[in-house]
């Protein structure tokens, strides 16, 4: 029953995103945002969530919980995300990364006491990010139009689909973990989000609360940073200021 609901959510959400991408106009532009009005509404909703809930709680969490405890919580969360990354490494046929992430998972789950510590990091075995949006890109999927997703923030059609599919379908840990551990994991995920919000507090505040148009600024920061991370040079749409005046 639960599984059925899971799929219904994925299919309806994916359907919506495919519908959005079908209306997508040209590609190659810096910002492709035909649904700006709708997105701005979502942005205000997300910004309200941050202002009223995420930001204040993250301040409390960051200021009152010792850093070492925060790290343990985030390590636990991050370790359980590794199998999902390995799945994507394999789907991208990136075997070296798959080996690195698997080795990390084995070391941290054992020597790192079920992932509470990250001994792999200290021996130079640094985690390699991978997600299903990236996999879709490696398979040749275009970014699609910009969308801001409720609760999740800035995204685009491809990475929005990647986010949902990755979370619900391609996360081995969620299939394996049973009652108490699954709950600990959910809690540690929240902890990791709070720690992140606190660590990058100044940068996030600057975009959301100190810029003249937080929607446009968040959109730019997301798109440029995402393309950088995916090494998407086909969408290198930086400004050449001399061209404009020549």
């Amino acid at each position: 029953m639960f599984r059925f609901e899971k799929y219904t959510i994925i299919f309806s959400f994916t359907g919506l995103l495919v519908l959005l991408s079908a209306c997508s106009p040209q590609s190659g532009a810096l910002v492709d945002d035909p649904f700006e009005r709708m997105n701005r509404g979502t942005h205000e909703f997300n910004k309200g969530l941050d202002r009223d809930i995420l930001s204040p709680i993250s301040k409390g969490y960051g200021n009152f919980v010792p850093d070492s405890v925060e790290d343990i919580v985030s390590n636990f969360s991050s370790n359980l995300s590794l199998p999902g990354k390995v799945v994507n490494n394999v789907l991208q046929l990136d075997m070296p990364a798959a080996v690195t992430n698997t080795t990390r998972f084995v070391i941290n789950s054992t020597l790192g006491l079920a992932g509470l510590f990250d001994p792999s990091d200290s021996i130079g075995l640094v985690g390699l990010d991978a997600d299903f949006g990236q996999t879709l890109q490696r398979w040749g999927a275009e970014e699609g139009v910009y969308i801001e997703i409720p609760f999740f923030g800035p995204s685009n059609v491809r990475d929005g689909i990647g986010l949902i599919v990755g979370m619900v379908l391609l996360d081995p840990a969620s299939y394996v973990l049973k009652a108490p551990v699954a709950t600990y994991r959910a809690g540690s995920n929240v902890g990791a989000i709070l720690q992140n919000r606190h660590t990058y507090g100044d940068q996030i505040d600057e975009v959301l609360y100190e810029s003249a148009d937080s929607y446009a600024q968040a959109r730019l920061v997301y798109l440029q940073n995402r393309r950088f991370k995916l090494k998407d040079s086909t969408r290198d749409a930086y400004i050449d200021p001399y061209d404009e005046f020549e």
Binding site: T199, S211, A212, Q217, V221, R227, I239, P241, Y242, E244
Partner: protein, 207 residues
């Protein structure tokens, strides 16, 4: 150096001479310009990075950091073109005086905005990595190694199309200062109905 052999035809000589004269003229106009290449682009960023490394590890107060950053920005960045580009299409219809005043206000606004962030980088070291020829400009990549968090990438874009070798964009983990300021200044300008004079005045209160 130009060396003529008896084999050189008159035509070739004329072309060579024309090029040589044009070169002399350019030199006279913009000072001793060396052609921008991998080496000179890297050298420029080396100097910028050297000065930034000194500033962030000098233990100076925030006010001094901002002042020092403004100096570096004025010396090595093409502030004119960055500020004009930040204004967007509105720059085309602006007067030279308006643009000049705006450019000056923009320089110190940038210094305050980004100089303040320098205190986060105390103890960091920037290391220049590689230079790529991108056709109309050069891209110089560097890594910032911080004591507390993971290293991150900074890229400087360098051009000599102003007549001087200057950087015109700093890209941090993919995020371009030029693009970001164009969004910001564009929004501020819209809020003032495209009035550059009012924006210039207000910019001194913003950071």
């Amino acid at each position: 150096m130009l060396i003529l052999t008896p084999m050189t035809s008159l035509n070739e000589f004329k072309i060579l001479r024309r090029g040589f004269l044009a070169g002399m003229l350019t030199t006279a106009l913009v000072g001793p310009a060396y052609a921008l290449d991998n080496v000179t682009a890297t050298k420029l960023v080396d100097e910028v990075v050297f000065e930034i490394n000194q500033v962030i590890n000098s233990g100076a107060s925030e006010a001094k950091l901002i002042k020092a950053f403004e100096g570096i920005f004025a010396k090595y960045a093409d502030v004119n073109i960055i500020s004009r580009s930040a204004l967007g299409p509105r720059a085309r219809t602006a007067s030279a005086l308006e643009l000049n005043k705006f450019s000056f206000a923009f320089r110190s606004y940038i210094a305050r905005k980004y100089g303040r962030r320098f205190k986060e980088f105390v103890g960091s070291v920037i290391i220049v990595k590689n230079t790529t020829n991108r056709g109309k400009f050069f891209e110089v990549g560097a890594m910032v190694q911080t004591p507390s968090s993971a290293p991150f990438e900074v890229t400087f874009r360098v051009s000599d199309r102003s007549g001087k070798q200057l950087f015109f964009d700093i890209i941090i983990e993919g995020i371009s200062l030029l693009s970001s300021e164009r969004v910001e200044i564009g929004a501020l300008l819209d809020a003032r109905n495209g009035h550059i004079g009012r924006l210039t005045q207000d910019l001194s209160d913003l950071s």
